[in-house]
Each structure stands twice: as structure tokens, then as C-alpha cells.
């Protein structure tokens, strides 16, 4: 399927990459220059014919010689120029597209890191641990109970078969009812986890109990029935609580297909997806690889990640994050079960892979462009076009693309699925303390799109000459530009001097005139073509630079959207925590202290929050993770703060509120924060009455600054390009974070061109920006949100100076 091609490092007109336009261009120049030589010879002959004066002849021959030298130089210059042109474009595209490939795998790494935090955090949820502890206990007793019950049932049956004074002889035969109940004795798992089966059992038991009640001396059987029922009842109650908590998780973090709790031997006791619940509860995952790996993992490893696409829980392409569960406060003991979170890899990969791809008019990704991920074995785990690059198959990639080192990138030309393409690959190097899964990201671009003609390219707001002088244009091109103009002048002066010289020869010189005119024409043609090519190069350079800035601005806004999505998910989940609704329902000193401790526990597992605060329904802060940050805790009233009022009005859990970046009385020194909030409901019930609000103060200044700095343009050697500026603006175009406060101050509203202001959600634009005395190029992108997180209408802007 693939043929690897090697790149010619020197210009050859036969290189397949050279566009037809350029081939024609090149041939014209060369033909003209080749024509110079005969003209010069003609000039020399003419000189001999018209003059017998040796000095005069020498002067003409000398002029002709100079013309020939220049023509030869121009010939070489043209070749070098094309060489420069193609190499520069290749270089630039390599840097843009390798970066794009890396951004994609980095986005996955960042998401996966968050997921590893999720699963570790949830493992500490009391509802899950309580549920497992009780179920394990009941389950182990239940076998005995059921066999004991069967003995009682047999005895009852026998007693009824032999009418005695003790039994009511009118009810001779209860065997049918006994058998009905007895049948369930072998269906322990169904009884425990299938509510329909349990209901049926209950009603059969009721009927039997009624019949037995008519007889005498049946107390033993009846008591046993009650005991079994009571235990099963408890199992179902615990399962319901655990399922409901899992549902809370799933409605807060929408990127999971399902979450399950299993016993140590792989029986699913609770799940989050109500649609599949009846099939999943009680089923066993013992044979599934994710379970086997997680249950045999050493107890100190905090989580295990495994790919699956055929689990009984969910058959879609997922990544299962699993962790062992232990009795609370007793991590040394044997695990009591296991939690598995099915991360929706398919959906996540689709979102990331479809991004940064050019679209045709009907909105589809352009043909020949592919973006896909491969795992450590080179098989495809996500694809922008699964009909052509199928998931689960080995990717058809050049060998070097399959042998990358973490963080490494590579590009080459290859024939991918019948298209001449350039392939850009980048391997994950993890993110922060997450080592990554050894995945690689690949971007396939049709060669024709890389070397498309830039001849008609125009960018508003800058002239070719201004552009030619700008910092964007590499020195080598500037030098060539100067050299071409120099050659142009030399040729002109040589031929003008020639014409003047001829005219002084009077009638004798007439024959020389056309020779010099021809030389002027050829020289002009060749040099102006070269200038054209240089300008095309300059505009190509400009266009790619604009594209880079768009990519970076898009990355900047995507990273913040994804980060804030996590914040909105976390607050939704924490708001359901029992410590908080308990403290608000019964605000005793002890309850308030536990709530504060809980807040501080949560905050210490994250680095991006300044503070977490719990307010009662009157708008008084009753607990905080870091109370010392609040200027006047006792007097703090938040009843009129947007984060509080919006959350108080929310309808159910799964909703959150947000207060846009700004100052708040909850922060000393007027530091800017962004506040997310979720309503705390009576008894943690889904539609319970709102009894207070939990708020998280996101450390906006630190976090947004970090992200902005990662999105500043870098040169080939990875060094930051001087004078670049990145900033975020809110929906009113007010600057809410900036990498250079002296050029673009916080709180200012920069005068942006309309096409950078009127961006639709998810759209990007780029262009030239004149700002004070400086000229910049700028890329801008508007937030498109992430999943159900709609974003706050912000935009990211990256500027690069031209002079």
C-alpha cells in the first residue's frame, strides 16, 4: 500500500513535487537565458564587422562577456531560488503539521491524566465501599441461607402432604407454591441483582406465606423466608444507592460510557448507565482483559488503563480506567472490589481527530487528509475516516513513523491509500505525571496541498515590499531578493552603456542596437520572474505563518475550554457529596468541621483551585478549604454574587453555574478569579430542594497564564520567537489574561479588525494588525466549548511582530 519516497535535497525540475506552474515558469526563464549566449556571440561578430579599431572591439567584447557572466549567474540563481522555495515550504509545513499532530496526541494525554485523577478520587466514595462491604457479606451468607430455606420448604411441603390435626387438611397441597419459591434457590445472582427477578420472588413468597399461614407450625419456614427477603432487600437498596451515585458521576462527567463496581470475583454489582443496567448487573467480567489486569495489579498501583471494544458492559471503543476498592481507612486489607470507568474513547478521538482538518464546502473533511492515532503496537485506535483507515488494523505507515521516541516527530513522503501524501507523526510524551500510553498521532496531507501555488495569494493590509522586509522572511530570501535586484540593475546598466556606446559609433553602431535591446529584455524578464517567485515565496511564508498563529490560538482556546469543562464536571460531582448536604441540613460544629475538612481534602488533590467554599441558602459562607484567603470570613456574604444566585436557581444536579473572570470579595488584593458553582440539594437527592451552594475559585491567573505561554510561537529550534503576544478576551473583547501586560494590558479592549471580532463559535481567522506603531500578524479563535460545556464566548489571540 505504501511506497516511501526520498526527498531530493537539490533542485531538479523532474522532482514530482514541482508544480506545473513552476515548471513552466522555470523553463521560460532558462530558455530566455540560454538565448543570451548566441546574442552575445552575434554582438562580438558585429563588433568585428563594424570596427577595425582594436580598443572599440575590445570594449564591445568586454561588454558581451559581462552579459554572458550575468546570464550564467542568473541561471544558477534561478535554480537556487526554486531550491530555496521548495525547501522553505517543506520546512514550514513540517513544523506546522508535526506540531498539529503533537497537539492532538497531547490533548488525549491531558484528558487521560484527568481521567486517572477521577477514578482514584471516586474510589474513595463511601457509597461504593459501603455497598460492596454489605454485598460481599450478604452474598457469602446467602448460599447457606438459601439452602437452609430449601430445607424448611421441603419440610413444609412434606407436612402439607400428610394431613394432620396440626395442618389445615383443606389445604392439602402447597407443593406448587413451594416449588415456585424453591426454584429461585439456584438463582442467587439474579435474586441479588435483577430487580425483576427479585420482585417475582417477592410476590411468589407472599403467595406461599399466605398459604403457609393457613397451616400450623410453619413459623420456622416463614421466619426463614423473611430473613432471606430482608437480606435481599438490603442488597437491592445498597445497589440502588451505588447505582444512583454512579449515575451522578456520569451526569457530571459526560465523557464516560459507563462506570461499574464489581466484586473481587468480577460480578457487576452497580453501574451508571440505566439503559443497560438490567443486562449488566449480576453479569461477570471475570474473563475480560481489563478486569484481569486490574485485579492482578499490585495493590500499590493506583490505576490500570486498558483498551476494550467487546466488554459485556459496553461494546464501543473504550478505555477502561480501573482501580481496586478497599475498606475506607484500611488500604492494607484485601480489596473488597473493583471500579471500572469506561471512557468514551471513540467520541473523544472523533472530536480531536476531526479538528484542524480543512473542510470542503459541504462541511466534510477534504479528501486525502487523514488524522489517526495508533497504539504502542502500531494498530489504529482512532481514525478520522474509519472506512479507509480502519480501527484495530495495523496502520500502513513508513517504518520510521512506527519507531518514534516519546515526544518525537517525523515527516516523510509516502503513498498513502493511493495518494501522494506527506505524513507527519508525533509520539506522545505524556503530560505532567501521566506517562502516556505510548500512542502516536499521524496526519496525512496530500502533497499537492503543501506545494499549492501561492501566485495569486494576497493578504490585505500589507504590500509585497513591506512583507519582503519583515521579520517573517528568512534572511536567505531577503539576500536573494537583494541579489536579484542587483543583477537586474547590472544587466540594465551594461546594456544601456552598450547602447550609448553603439550610438557614438554613429551609423556603424546601428547594428549593435538590437543586440543590447534583446539583452535588456531578457534580463528584465528573468529578473522580474525571479522577483515574482520571491514574492510568491513571501506570501507563502506569510500564509503559513498566519495558519500557524490560527493553530496556536485554537490550541489556546481549546486547552482552556477543556480545562474548564473539567472544572464544571468536578463541581457538579462534589456538590452531591454527603458531607456538604449533611453540614447544611444540620449545621453542628462537628458537621461543619467535617465539611471543611472534606473541602480541604479535595483542594489538596488539585493544584488549580485557590479555594473551595460552601455557602448556605442565605448566602453565608459556612466552610472553606482555605479560609485564610478570604479577607473577612465572618462577614462574607455572597447572596448577590452571580455564582451563588445562578446555582440557587438550578433545576437538578448535572447543572452548574459560572461567574466570568473578575474580582470578588472572596479574594484578597482584588485578584481575578473564575468561579464555578453547583447547588447542594437536600439529602443529595437528584431533584431535592436546594439548601446551599458549593463554589470553586479557579486559579485563573496562574492556570491561564501557563496555557497562554505554551501557545506562544517557537522557532525551528524550539526557542520562543521574540515579541510575540498571546491574550484571552471575554465575550466583550476585554482582555482577561495576557502574556505581555505592557503591550496588551489586562482589562483593556484592543481595537481588533471585524473579522477577528465577529468569529462564530469554533471559528478561526488571521490577518495583519496595525497596533500603535507596530505591525503584527495575528491569529484568533473563538471558543467552541467542549462537549456539553458551551464555553463563555471567549476568544484567544496570538500576535507575532513583523518588524
Amino acid at each position: 500500500m505504501i511506497t516511501e519516497q526520498t526527498t531530493e535535497n537539490k533542485f531538479s525540475i523532474f522532482n514530482a513535487l514541482i508544480t506545473n506552474d513552476h515548471r513552466e515558469f522555470y523553463e521560460k526563464i532558462i530558455n530566455e537565458l540560454i538565448g543570451i549566449s548566441p546574442i552575445c556571440n552575434q554582438g562580438k561578430c558585429t563588433a568585428a564587422a563594424i570596427s577595425e579599431n582594436a580598443t572599440e572591439q575590445e570594449q564591445i567584447t568586454d561588454l558581451m562577456g559581462r552579459v554572458e557572466t550575468f546570464a550564467a549567474e542568473l541561471h544558477d540563481g534561478t535554480k537556487n531560488l526554486f531550491d530555496q522555495f521548495y525547501l522553505a515550504k517543506e520546512d514550514f509545513c513540517r513544523s506546522i503539521y508535526c506540531t498539529t499532530a503533537y497537539i492532538k496526541v497531547n490533548l488525549i494525554d491531558r484528558t487521560l491524566l484527568e481521567r486517572t485523577c477521577d477514578v482514584r478520587w471516586w474510589a474513595m466514595e463511601t457509597a461504593f465501599v459501603d455497598c460492596l462491604e454489605r454485598i460481599n457479606k450478604i452474598s457469602s451468607k446467602l448460599d447457606n441461607m438459601l439452602s437452609e430455606l430449601n430445607e424448611y420448604l421441603d419440610a413444609s411441603k412434606a407436612a402439607f402432604e400428610v394431613p394432620t390435626l396440626e395442618t389445615n387438611w383443606t389445604m392439602k397441597d402447597v407443593s406448587k407454591y413451594v416449588d415456585d419459591v424453591r426454584e429461585f434457590g439456584k438463582r442467587k445472582l439474579d435474586l441479588m441483582f435483577n430487580s425483576a427477578v427479585f420482585k417475582e420472588f417477592q410476590s411468589k413468597t407472599d403467595v406461599l406465606a399466605e398459604q403457609l399461614g393457613k397451616g400450623k407450625s410453619q413459623e420456622g419456614t416463614l421466619a426463614m423466608l423473611q430473613k432471606v427477603l430482608k437480606n435481599l432487600q438490603e442488597v437491592h437498596e445498597r445497589v440502588a444507592i451505588a447505582c444512583s451515585r454512579l449515575e451522578d458521576v456520569r451526569s457530571s462527567y459526560t465523557l464516560y460510557r459507563d462506570l461499574v463496581i464489581t466484586t473481587p470475583d468480577g460480578i457487576v454489582v452497580a453501574n451508571a448507565n440505566p439503559d443497560t443496567r438490567s443486562a449488566v448487573l449480576g453479569a461477570t467480567v471475570k474473563t475480560e482483559s481489563w478486569f484481569k489486569r486490574a485485579s492482578s495489579a499490585s495493590e500499590s498501583s493506583q490505576y490500570v488503563i486498558e483498551k476494550t471494544n467487546d466488554s459485556i458492559v459496553d461494546s464501543a471503543n473504550s478505555l477502561v480506567f480501573s482501580t481496586l476498592l478497599f475498606s475506607l481507612g484500611n488500604a492494607e486489607a484485601k480489596p473488597i472490589g473493583l471500579m471500572g470507568a469506561f471512557f468514551d474513547l471513540e467520541d473523544e478521538a472523533r472530536i480531536i481527530l476531526d479538528d484542524y482538518m480543512p473542510r470542503s464546502e459541504d462541511g466534510d473533511t477534504q479528501d486525502g487528509w487523514f488524522s489517526f492515532f495508533t497504539d504502542e503496537n502500531g494498530s489504529v485506535v482512532g481514525s478520522s475516516d474509519r472506512n479507509i483507515i480502519a480501527i484495530g488494523e495495523q496502520a500502513h505507515l513508513p517504518r520510521r513513523h512506527r519507531k518514534l521516541k516519546p515526544g518525537g516527530t517525523i515527516s516523510s513522503y509516502a503513498n498513502i491509500e493511493g495518494n501522494n501524501s506527506a505524513v507527519f507523526s508525533a509520539m506522545s510524551d505524556g503530560y505532567l505525571d501521566f506517562a502516556g500510553l505510548g500512542w502516536s498521532s499521524h496526519l496525512v496531507v496530500p502533497t499537492g496541498d503543501i506545494f499549492a501555488s501561492e501566485a495569486n495569494c494576497q493578504v490585505n493590509g500589507i504590500s509585497p515590499d513591506e512583507l519582503m522586509r519583515s521579520k517573517l522572511i528568512p534572511e536567505i530570501n531577503k539576500d536573494t531578493y537583494v541579489k536579484v535586484q542587483d543583477d537586474k540593475q547590472s544587466i540594465k546598466l551594461i546594456s544601456l552603456n552598450g547602447i550609448v556606446f553603439a550610438s557614438k559609433l554613429g551609423k556603424r553602431g546601428v547594428a549593435l542596437g538590437p543586440v543590447f535591446e534583446q539583452i535588456t529584455e531578457t534580463g528584465d524578464f528573468a529578473t522580474s520572474k525571479m522577483e515574482e517567485l520571491l514574492r510568491e515565496m513571501a506570501f507563502g511564508e506569510l500564509r503559513l505563518n498566519l495558519q500557524t498563529l490560527e493553530t496556536f490560538s485554537k490550541q489556546a482556546i481549546d486547552l482552556i475550554d477543556r480545562n474548564l469543562f473539567e472544572r464544571s464536571a468536578a463541581i457538579r460531582w462534589w456538590a452531591t457529596d454527603q458531607y456538604f448536604w449533611k453540614a447544611l441540613t444540620e449545621p453542628t460544629e462537628e458537621n461543619l468541621q467535617s465539611a471543611a475538612r472534606r473541602l480541604s481534602d479535595i483542594n489538596s488533590s488539585y493544584s488549580m483551585y485557590r479555594n473551595l467554599v460552601l455557602s448556605n441558602r442565605m448566602g453565608r459562607i459556612v466552610a472553606a478549604s482555605t479560609p485564610e484567603l478570604i479577607p473577612d470570613l465572618k462577614e462574607a456574604r455572597v447572596a448577590d454574587h452571580p455564582w451563588f444566585t445562578k446555582a440557587m436557581k438550578s433545576k437538578s444536579i448535572g447543572e452548574y453555574a459560572v461567574q466570568d473572570v473578575g474580582t470578588t470579595e472572596l479574594e484578597r488584593n482584588g485578584r481575578s478569579t473564575l468561579i464555578y458553582s453547583g447547588a447542594v440539594r437536600q439529602n443529595g437527592l437528584r431533584n431535592g430542594e436546594v439548601i446551599g451552594v458549593l463554589g470553586s475559585l479557579f486559579d485563573w491567573v496562574t492556570e491561564s497564564g501557563k496555557i497562554l505561554r505554551t501557545c506562544l510561537p517557537k522557532d525551528k529550534n524550539g526557542k520562543r520567537i521574540q515579541g510575540c503576544i498571546a491574550f484571552y478576551a471575554n465575550r466583550d473583547f476585554e482582555v482577561i489574561e495576557t502574556s505581555d501586560a505592557s503591550a496588551i494590558p489586562l482589562g483593556s479592549i484592543p481595537d481588533l479588525p471585524a473579522e477577528h471580532r465577529e468569529l462564530a463559535s469554533g471559528q478561526s481567522a488571521s490577518g495583519v494588525l496595525r497596533f500603535g506603531n507596530s505591525v503584527y500578524i495575528m491569529g484568533s479563535s473563538r471558543s467552541k466549548g467542549y462537549r456539553e460545556y458551551l464555553g463563555l464566548g471567549w476568544s484567544a489571540h496570538i500576535l507575532r511582530p513583523l518588524f
Partner: protein
């Protein structure tokens, strides 16, 4: 007759080609203290010292910016003038003179009906006539009158 044309701030001017000895690139000029601002200074061309006259100053337009290019025209001296030029009554100075112009354009072969006398409202004495071509007009100037005026001015000062 052939004319050599050059431009000064986008305007085209012409002098007879036979009065030109050589066109060349700008070269370093040695300033002359106290000289008229229209004189850039002196240059050395293959051992001969020539005075450089700044045509922008003569035309009273703003000086060239640092990044704008220029070119030079060396005029024939009286001894170098060819017979045909003398026949035409063309004047040449005894000393070498260099004109500093923005750009040298081309050698234009003059048709007899193309040249018109200078319009009456043009006061500058060095304007000799106006040449009409397919693409527009250009001005024929007399270097002799230009330099004579310059010398008078110097004498007056």
C-alpha cells in the same frame, strides 16, 4: 536623435544620449564643505575627479530616503564629445560632471514630431522641451542651463 531618460521621484526627464559617457551604480561620495546643497560632493572615476550633482535638490523635491536606490550618469567632457554630437551643437563641460538620479530608465530614439517646446507657464530655465510618447510625457532638460544657474547662485552667495 537618441535620448537617455531617467527618473526623479517618479517623473521622467531626458538628456541627449550622446552627452552620456557612462552609466554606473552609486559610489561613495566625498562631501565638500560649504558647497551648495545641490552638490553632493566629489567622486573618483577611474582616476578622474567628478562633481556629483544631486538632481533631487535641483528639482526641489524631498531628499531620497535611506532605503531608496539611486544611480549615476557620467557626462561626456568637451574633449570626449564625438563628431556627431558636435555637429548637433551639443555642449559639454571641460570638467567631468556626474548626475545623481533615482533611476536610469532607457535609451529612447526620438521621432522628429515627438518634441514640443516648453509650455509658457513653466518658469524653470533648464526645461528645454516636452517629449510626447505613447505612454506619456517627459521633460527634456539642459544640463548646461541647470549648472549655469547653480554656478550663478554660488557666485551670488
Amino acid at each position: 536623435m537618441q535620448l537617455s531618460t531617467f527618473t526623479i521621484r517618479g517623473e521622467t526627464f531626458a538628456i541627449p544620449a550622446l552627452k552620456v559617457e557612462e552609466f554606473f551604480r552609486p559610489m561613495p561620495v566625498t562631501r565638500v564643505f560649504g558647497a551648495d546643497r545641490r552638490i553632493d560632493g566629489l567622486v573618483n572615476i577611474r582616476g578622474r575627479t567628478a562633481v556629483v550633482i544631486n538632481m533631487r535638490e535641483c528639482m526641489r523635491v524631498e531628499p531620497r530616503a535611506a532605503n531608496e536606490s539611486s544611480e549615476m550618469i557620467l557626462l561626456e567632457t568637451a574633449s570626449g564629445l564625438v563628431a556627431e554630437a558636435r555637429d548637433l551643437g551639443l555642449y559639454a563641460f571641460e570638467e567631468p560632471i556626474v548626475l545623481s538620479v533615482d533611476s536610469i530608465s532607457q535609451i529612447h530614439t526620438l521621432e522628429s514630431d515627438e518634441i514640443h517646446p516648453a509650455p509658457a507657464h513653466i518658469k524653470q530655465p533648464f526645461v528645454e522641451g516636452v517629449v510626447e510618447t505613447k505612454t506619456g510625457y517627459f521633460t527634456m532638460i539642459s544640463i548646461r542651463k541647470l549648472v549655469a544657474e547653480l554656478l550663478e547662485n554660488q557666485a551670488g552667495a
